[in-house]
Symmetry: C2
Subunit: 423 residues, 2 copies
């Protein structure tokens, strides 16, 4: 905490923001789709119109990060460009094009006594997002929350504070110009960790908190928050190459799962190979991974190959998010299942096999948000699943599990209509 | 905590139970509906066959309660009879008759790239139930959890400890005799509050906690638990009599909502009357409620009538669960909505009106699990909604809201099937 600064905030300051969000949410909850889509389009237009201001604000964050010795790849994630702003604007227009989840009748019918029962999607109300680095998340989250009828409190990273403040100002002005309450989008100060703690304690004022970022951030929010949390994103994902696998396909899937994009939660972090195909598959997969620049942390079967590092249990438990993979040979499917059970974070786990019995058991017994058969773990993604927008990937079992699109950002209520019915 | 007794438990003891539950849950998750239904029928048979043992165990609890000066109505809730055992057995058979939620495909299709995507219902895994008083909940919860594929840890009230131990022993033996793991149902010792705390800390071992009981119990679990919680049941429910109401219907709905059964969460606790109909409606509703034995805690308009007690804000915030009701006259629909917004616990709120615009606004703007139009609040119930079984009524917005049946006791996972698909 930057103690003594004028902008240091208290719990009450964050609650005040939440109270304003609640008032805005009441209006937003009954806004029509047309009103919301118009606001999203206005927001997209404004991001482009205000590009010079936004890029200038971002340049301040970038300069501060560079002066502070931030690694170049992190600075790159922080940086806004005209292309990235165009992407943010297009993201908002894409959300405008998606169906409105609010008001959807999830189930309904008429009971024996004539009561009409409908279960209808409604917004949560006030959503808190706690996230790191990339300023594009600011616009993405604002758009998804607005379309799903939720007022949002955005608590981004302090490294992106100037960018986020500028983006939020633009979004708020656009919302207001479209006739929605300005407080449908608000920025929570990031000058102190205390504002994160205040959000976590704002039970009753904030309906749900969604942390997006590193494992440490997510764990601390999940453990400390009294506000309900949707846990996102930690992915210690496995690819298991069964003895029934087509080994060409297996090689392509392992490589794609590991190397297509290493910094994301749906990339593979661990490789398991059935002993019956190890002799044929290991030389091929070791060579291919190493050629792609991957460091293999392997068990005894793998360390027989040059350049493979010996793996510890710690390796098998690690989400590397880098060009590293843990690897082991397992005697059979049961051992593969036991390994996944022990080490998987419950995000995405894949089996490569043409054996129907093995595939069926893997699907039934692996308890993860996504279980993939003969497909790369990289497919666990709201975009790939056709959701059109994604606020994160839930790795918890309550409410939503897996990629979360617009419907996952809603609750429901029952509407019961009678004719003077009593029991 | 009853310190120094041999049965005092530690966190580790509760985790040991949860680990055994996890092992049982793995088997139960892939059990067929036929296996689960056979176990439920065996449990029902065993409750009847072991009636003498169960009644004797219950007599110990009842004697202890009576010696301890427990109020007769509480003792009555604790008491088992042949009729109540028959009801418990029938409840298990009813659950056996319901569709199996596990394996239900919630959505599915084939993506543009040929990947087959299915979202499938799966059990949570290990469910913890924390509940008070009635020993019938022990059998009800065990049945619902078993059918939905969840191993359950039952932490009942210490006042029912002997009854619960006997019931659980019978249920476990029946499960085992049907070929399911004995640990699909386990009792958590109730000799100390420490076991409740241990359940709340067992994150990773217990997937979801469901507290059922008084407001104090629920609040403490919601605030202290690091395990995800489904908040149930506190109901400060309103009936608003609009100026567009048919007053005969309004009278019937108010009386039914308040007096049909006072001790339950869906009974009405507060009455709001539009000023335009107050002069005609108040004398009638005051007389009818008082005749039914109800004490009215009213605002100035109501205290003009004999026997009406003056209400404080505290009254309007209170879930009486007794023959008491708070009551106020409101100048218009906006004031009624503001009152509900301020005081409702978000369980069930009803409007009585024949005015379509008023009904539409009330439905849109009241943010409760159930919003009723021209119907008693008593209809918010899994049985009335046709769910066949109910584990509780959720008043939270995440996961499930309103009466929770079998589908609400499940999570989902995505199954993605490809043909060597990579990105």
């Amino acid at each position: 905490m930057t103690s003594g600064t004028a902008s240091a905030t208290t719990d009450q300051d964050v609650i005040d923001l939440a109270v304003r969000a609640r008032e805005a949410a009441r209006v937003l909850a009954i806004a029509t789709r047309a009103q919301k889509d118009a606001a999203l389009e206005a927001m997209a237009d404004a991001l482009l119109a205000e590009a010079p201001t936004l890029l200038a604000a971002n340049a301040e964050d970038v300069a501060r990060a560079e002066e502070g010795g931030t690694p170049p790849n992190v600075v790159d994630r922080l940086r806004l460009t005209d292309d990235r702003l165009a992407g943010m604007a297009q993201g908002l227009r894409d959300v405008a094009g998606l169906p409105d989840p609010v008001g959807e009748v999830v189930r309904g019918g008429t009971l024996a006594n004539g009561l009409e029962l409908r279960q209808v999607r409604v917004p949560f109300g006030v959503v808190g997002m706690i996230y790191e680095a990339r300023p594009n998340v600011t616009a993405d989250a604002a758009g998804i929350c607005l379309k799903s009828g939720n007022a949002v409190l955005l608590r981004g990273s302090s490294s992106a504070a100037t960018s986020n403040a500028a983006i939020v100002e633009v979004l708020r002005a656009a919302a207001a110009s479209s006739g929605l309450p300005v407080d449908v989008v608000q920025l929570v100060p990031s000058d102190s960790r205390d504002t994160v703690k205040a959000l976590m304690r704002a039970r009753g004022h904030v309906d749900v908190l969604i942390p997006r970022g590193g494992a440490g951030l997510i764990r601390s929010v999940v453990e400390e928050s009294t506000v309900p949390v949707i846990e996102t994103g930690v992915g210690n994902c496995h690819v298991y190459v069964d003895r029934g696998a087509d080994l060409d396909r297996a090689l392509a899937i392992v490589l794609n799962s590991k190397t297509h994009r290493t910094s994301v939660c749906n990339s593979a972090e661990s490789l398991l190979v059935h002993a019956d195909v190890a002799e044929e598959f290991l030389p091929r997969v070791v060579a291919a991974l190493q050629e792609a620049g991957v460091t293999i942390h392997g068990d005894a079967a793998f360390t027989a190959y040059d350049g493979v590092v010996a793996a510890t249990d710690e390796d098998f438990a690690t989400e590397y998010l880098s060009l590293d993979i843990s690897a082991a040979v397992v005697p059979d499917l049961d051992a593969a299942l036991a390994h996944v059970r022990r080490f998987s974070s419950g995000h995405s786990d894949a089996i490569v096999t043409d054996d129907q019995r093995a595939a069926r058991r893997f699907v039934a017994e692996v308890d993860s948000a996504a279980v993939l058969v003969n497909a790369s773990t990289r497919f666990t993604d709201g975009g790939e699943f056709g959701f059109g927008a994604e606020i994160g990937i839930s790795t918890q079992k309550l409410h939503a599990r897996g990629p979360m699109g617009l419907p996952e950002m809603t609750s429901t209520k029952y509407v019961v209509t009678g004719d003077g019915h009593v029991r």
